[in-house]
Amino acid sequence: MIEVREIQKSFGEVEAVAGVTFDVGGGEIFGFLGPNGAGKTTTINILCTLVRPTSGSAALAGYDVVSKASEVRASIGIVFQDPSLDERLSAYENLIFHALVYSVPKDVREERIASALDMVGLWERRRDIVRTFSGGMKRRLEIARGLLHHPKVLFLDEPTLGLDPQTRNKIWEFVHDLREKENITIFLTTHYMDEAENCNRIAIIDHGRIIALDTPAKLKTMVGGDVITLSTADDEAAAEQIKELHGLEATAQDAKLILEVPDGEKFLAPLVRSLDTPINSISLRRPTLEDVFLKLTGRTIRDESAGALDSMRSHVRMRRR
């Protein structure tokens, strides 16, 4: 459904996307996972024909995104990272506008708007002005709008950014439902690890490059088994001792030591017994995509996302929602 070959995009000196190649099959939920500024939105913008790639090629539903932009646009639905509704129009009016510019045939227009609003649970609020909606309602309305013209591919750029966990879950239920009913291909970007678990396949992207691409389960096998996190009175001494006694490399992260072990449950007791340094806390868990990212890049995905500019941006976004 989507074929991307060596796409590269530079803005002046800055290389936002440094040559990425991947395919997305029909009916797949495909996720782009990476920190802010990794090139996720730029890639989406190229696939949506909003940005021209500096080099490389991409095709969507068989249409080239540069030479057949119009056909591509008619085949896709997009929910942008930032809100893009007309807040002074009602929910219904926003959808009518969309139906008109996407040439939804007149005889099915009302019916599609009704079923789209019904699907996202906004039918009762159709006459209300969008400005009075909560962030989650606006998001759901945008998803309904993105589907109105029955696209083959739905792009969701950070679909749940700035939303509360309840609304996030609701939106995800809705996305899964949608895939089952309409067999639509879904391409999404996120920097929430737990959210990425919802995808069939994930591409982990960093500094404009894909550094891993697989199913969430397979990606997690890249981490050597289970993850033990412990904090001790003297982490440095503990790390040395662990290396000496168990031959394991412990990484320090946020004033804690992180260990990867094949069988965590069996290893826990010997580990506790073997350390001379008093242990403050210890925990064992299955690996998450966060661990995969840490393993691949040596950083947590949040490291870069707390910059001043970014927190200001998300602040602005929250205010608008």
Partner: protein
């Protein structure tokens, strides 16, 4: 232009009209500013300085003289505000929704120009309703003639606004546009003073202002051709030409975005 693009022009036009209808404050304020100029400023100036206007052998009271000018002002302000709302759309993301739609960029610019002209025409039409209070008689036939002229003026002015909005990065620039474009266009148009007996430098400036020809056309129609500086044919030609050039530039800018 195929059916899809025509439908898109209609959608973009409809959106501006709905937004205008919903904005009651705008409808009320559309009357407040002209009323302030006509009843307070006009009256004060005319009475205080005993001004009558005499040009081309015709005489008229000052308030009646500036009336077509104030209609022109209303068209100018409304057209510009509606056009510049594109910058808001960009800031609030709605423009993206339009830009990824499978429609030509030309239809976006044209839809916006028609939307802005329609809203300006309605606002100008409301100012026409003030005529009985100013001692200006408007026959139904005259109103039917004036309205299309007002629409043409509005279309040209909105197109100028769209060209600017296409190049404007943020709403902060609006103050600059207000001071360096909208106010000069208004003041130089001869809305408030006759264009005869001006020093050469001012004369040339007024002639470079497209709104001058709009106000002149309205003045000729409403108060009689003797009070107009140019012929109606010349006025309409200049306005139409400016409109055609500006909408082409607007389409060009949009296609390159």
């Amino acid at each position: 232009m195929n059916m899809n693009n025509l439908r898109a022009v209609y959608a973009i036009w409809l959106r501006d009209v709905i937004r205008y209808k919903r904005d009651k404050a705008r409808v009320v304020s559309s009357l407040a500013q002209p009323a302030l100029f006509l009843f307070v400023f006009g009256n004060g100036l005319a009475r205080g300085l005993s001004i009558n206007v005499a040009t081309g052998g015709a005489r008229t009271g000052y308030v009646a003289f500036i009336y077509p000018g104030i209609i022109g002002m209303t068209l100018l302000f409304t057209s510009m505000f509606t056009a510049v709302s594109i910058v808001w759309d960009r800031e609030f993301g709605f423009l993206k929704e339009v830009m990824v739609a499978p429609i030509s960029r030309a239809s976006v610019a044209i839809g916006k120009a028609l939307g802005g002209s329609t809203v300006a025409l309605i606002q100008g039409g409301i100012v026409l309703l003030l005529s009985p209070f100013l001692g200006v008689k408007l026959s139904p036939l005259l109103i039917i003639t004036v309205l299309p002229v007002m629409l043409l003026i509005s279309f040209s002015l909105t197109s100028i606004g769209i060209v600017i909005a296409a190049k404007m990065e943020s709403m902060e620039g609006f103050q600059v546009i207000m001071n360096f474009l909208i106010m000069p266009l208004f003041v130089l148009s001869g809305a408030m003073f006759p264009l005869t007996r001006l020093p050469v430098w001012l004369r040339s400036l007024t002639r470079a202002d497209p709104l001058t020809y709009g106000v002149d056309a309205l003045r000729g129609l409403i108060l009689g051709p003797k009070l107009a500086e140019f012929s109606l044919a010349l006025d309409l030609t200049v306005i139409a030409l400016v409109g055609a050039i500006m909408i082409s530039v607007a389409v060009y800018f949009f296609e390159r975005q």
